[in-house]
Amino acid sequence: MSVSLRNVTKVFKDVIAVDNVSLDVKDGEFLTLLGPSGCGKTTTLRIVAGFETPTSGEIFIEDRKVNDIPPYQRNTGMVFQSYALFPHLSVFENIAFGLRLKGFSESEIKDKVRRVVEMLGLAELTSRNPSQLSGGQQQRVALARALVVEPKVLLLDEPLSNLDAKLRMQMRVELRKLQQSLSITSIYVTHDQSEAMSMADRIVVMNEGKVQQVGTPWEIYGKPANRFVADFIGRVNIVDAKIVEMSDESTIIEMLGKEYTIDFTPKGFSIGDEVLVILRPESIEICPPGGGDMDLTVDRRVYLGASVEYYLKDEDLSLMVTEANPQHKGIHSEGEKIGIRFLRDCMHFIRS
């Protein structure tokens, strides 16, 4: 089942929470809305669920316009950040709640609940009260309650944010597996970029109510559309540069007082353009002094086990470089002079 938003805007008093957002969620797709708090991602989700009426714009679920359909007739399954389990009902009754409203017979309800609790490993807990469950179990009940009614689209509002780090990792994998096996269209709101990266088919990065970029995790990380996206997803060095020459298969830029030849042509730029070069910390190699593009001094070093971060400095330049597997490659000390080499094929340009 597909979901579409067309030019949706939501204004609260004097704040524009959602600013002219258009989106298409494909059938069976896992789409993540990612952004800092207050970026409008939760409001967008609530507009799809019907808890907020858009100030303008249209929402379609399965090609049917749902602007005037109340939330209880939209058939969306929502998992709330606080889980919102009914505290006065048992786990079974929580899950059966939606089924009863749909008028299923008692035996059908039992059957459907049994199937979903088995799928989610809750079979032993159905007679308990929500308060007797751990956070992870409550989370599963919330999910089961939303899934059992077989909604057209699953809406998840930061469902893992109340779990501890280890459980969160585990639930990411489980949730994604479940979503794929049911191939249910899902919209997932989070502010955690690694959550978005690891789960989503596509990510929508939002800021200040506006869509910044829509793309696969690969595109969002490797080819951020603007400075906000580059900064928000992962860590980044951003360096000024100028395009000096361009041909069909290569480009020459002037960066940090030197010219670099790159084996591709960035789209939408022409000779003479001022650009920003996106250099991920892992896209810079360390080599002996004098052996690379330039030499810099190690100002600070953070050892993380699997990798080591170097904060390098010059008179007017500071760069962050990460090197994996320091056990094998060795580690440099603070104050040491080292050479670096920019990986040309990992460079990405955005407008300055």
């Binding site: 950040q81 006065h88 409550q138």
Partner: protein, 566 residues
């Protein structure tokens, strides 16, 4: 084009449905505002009218007369004097218990008993403590005459009032201060300890300063309750120690000076109003103290043997006195003639059943009618306050709160003045009593409604809607079950307050509709203290039975584990 038409059509239907709902909703709100104006604001305003516009022209004559009469000035001074001493003592004892229960490492059982006994006097019917004081310390008292052989000690007047009102009001101070102590983040005190502060130093420099708003609040509350007290001074103040609430009553019922009674009520009203607004300011200033607003769990900490010993001993002494006062009334009710013939007898209870049964049933009926209405109005206002942004919310909350807070004497005289003439001739009917009960205790419903509605995460209601429940189904299956325990216990409290009400209702009873507490007052005024004791015991048993029943039913309904929703 067809889709355009569809859209227009859809919108029209939607707006109509919305307007229909809004119509009933608005009607309910306006009816509510109208009745608050009529049954809360109008009677209070009438006191001012009676005093300052007795013949339709503005005059200060009556008020001037009152102020010139030595007797009324003394009444004012006495009331303030008693209230000041009672409030100070209550705060000290309340703090003692609050601190011992929340901070001292006493056993669980001891904590439970302290808490239960220290809140017991809240439940007491009027006159109970004053009766005990007379039975124990009066001219013919068990302790004064019986044990010590003293006959020239007088419990009547300042001393007696201070004793019984302190016993009756320290529980209020205790609950207020306990709430504040519980809302202090325990880690703040732990931090002070870890920096090297002793227990005593932590208390002086951290705990006490952080709980000062609770202390101030407790002082104001007990002060105004002492000012408003009618039952105890009725028995203990006498004519040589006049206090305002009793003076107003005598002016009206004995001397039929309604205008002077109103002027005395005004003397009671003005300080109460001042305190009310100061208190509102304190509550709303919400300084750094109640950081979470949510009482955290108890935070007992190790204390030295000496400190613990002193605190626990003091608590036990106070509770011992409370216990003695309660036991004395019970004994008095079962005694033939106090201090003369201590034979166990049921005859006073038999008399109450004979002579007072009807009044008791009247009271139960009237309170039973008023309580659910009051509760529903309270919950509705709570709903408006939490889930809407109507401009009238503040007015509804403040005016009903004021009616709850003001001395019953003032409210009763207001009702008597406002509703004894056309077009609202309600005097002598059951309606005036019911209306008084309803509008007096609305804030109880508002408070329990607000606290429970705040605890229900709106997303719980949204989750129900998301699963296909419409507004009505959501309210019935989710909101109602979640709020009903609190709603129900609010009802029981309102009912209990109605059964024990005296200060306002004493102005509103009539031969056709009488009230049990006024019947007790009648027995007292002709000196039948054994009968009065028996009646007080009966009332106490009824109240306690209802409270236990309510606890039982609420448990049956299922205690809602609200933590989960936050």
């Amino acid at each position: 084009m067809p889709s355009m038409l569809y859209k227009l059509g859809g919108n029209v239907v939607n707006t109509e449905a919305k307007e229909k709902r809004d119509f009933f909703f608005n009607l309910a709100v306006w009816l509510l505002i109208g009745s608050i104006l009529l049954f809360v604001v109008y009677p209070l305003a009438y006191i001012f009218i009676e005093v300052f516009f007795p013949e339709g022209m503005p005059t200060l004559r009556l008020f001037g007369e009152i102020l010139q009469r030595h007797y009324f000035i003394r009444g004012f001074i006495n009331s303030v004097k008693v209230a000041t001493v009672v409030a100070s003592l209550s705060v000290v004892i309340g703090y003692l218990f609050g601190y011992t229960v929340t901070r001292v490492d006493i056993t669980r059982r001891k904590r439970k008993i302290f808490d239960l006994l220290a809140t017991l006097p809240i439940l007491s019917p009027p006159f109970l403590l004053a009766l005990s004081a007379v039975l124990l310390l009066g001219y013919n008292g068990l302790i004064t005459k019986g044990l010590l052989g003293i006959t020239d000690f007088s419990i009547y007047g300042f001393k007696g009032l201070v004793i019984v009102e302190t016993i009756g009001l320290f529980p209020i101070a205790y609950l207020t201060i306990k709430g504040t102590l519980q809302s202090i983040d325990p880690s703040i005190e732990d931090a002070a300890s870890s920096l090297g502060a002793t227990r005593w130093y932590v208390f002086r420099k951290v705990t006490l300063p952080l709980s000062m708003t609770g202390v101030a609040n407790a002082f104001l509350l007990t002060f105004s309750l002492s000012m408003a007290d009618f039952g105890n001074p009725m028995l203990l103040a006498g004519s040589r120690f006049p206090v305002l609430s009793v003076q107003a009553y005598f002016q009206i019922t004995a001397q039929f000076h309604i205008d002077k009674g109103a002027a005395v009520a005004l003397l009671l009203l003005l300080p109460a109003l001042a305190i009310f607004f100061i208190q509102q300011k304190i509550i709303h200033s919400r300084s750094y103290i109640t950081v979470t607003g949510k009482p955290s769990s108890l935070h007992p900490q190790p204390h030295s043997k000496l400190a613990k010993g002193i605190l626990v001993t003091l608590c036990i002494v106070v509770l011992g006195i409370v216990a003695v006062f309660y036991a004395t009334v019970l004994w008095g009710g079962f005694t033939d003639i106090w201090m003369i013939n201590h034979v166990f007898t049921f005859k006073h209870f038999a008399y109450i059943w004979e002579a007072g049964r009807e009044y008791l049933f009247d009271t139960l009926i009237l309170a039973g009618i008023a309580t659910p209405i009051s509760g529903i109005i309270g919950i509705f206002i709570a709903f408006l306050i939490i889930r809407t942004k109507l401009r009238t919310n503040k007015f509804m909350e403040m005016s009903t709160m004021l009616n709850f807070f003001l001395p019953g004497t003032v409210v009763g005289i207001g009702y008597m003045l406002a509703f004894n003439r056309y077009p609202l001739l309600l005097s002598g009917t059951a309606y005036i009593i019911i209306l008084n009960f309803i509008f007096r205790y609305i804030p109880v419903g508002i408070r329990s409604g607000i606290s429970i509605l705040l605890q229900i995460d709106p997303s719980i209601e949204e989750a129900a809607m998301n699963l296909g429940a419409n507004r009505m189904q959501t309210f019935r299956k989710i909101t109602m079950p979640l709020i009903s325990p609190a709603f129900f216990s609010g009802l029981v409290y309102t009912f209990e307050r109605s059964l024990t009400a005296i200060s306002a209702i004493v102005f509103l009873v009539s031969p056709s509709w009488y009230i049990f507490t006024v019947f007790i007052l009648d027995e007292l005024s002709i000196g039948r203290i054994e009968n009065a004791s028996a009646a007080v015991v009966i009332l106490f048993i009824i109240i306690t039975a209802f409270i236990w029943l309510a606890k039982f039913v609420t448990r049956k309904m299922g205690e809602i584990p609200t933590e989960i929703s936050t």
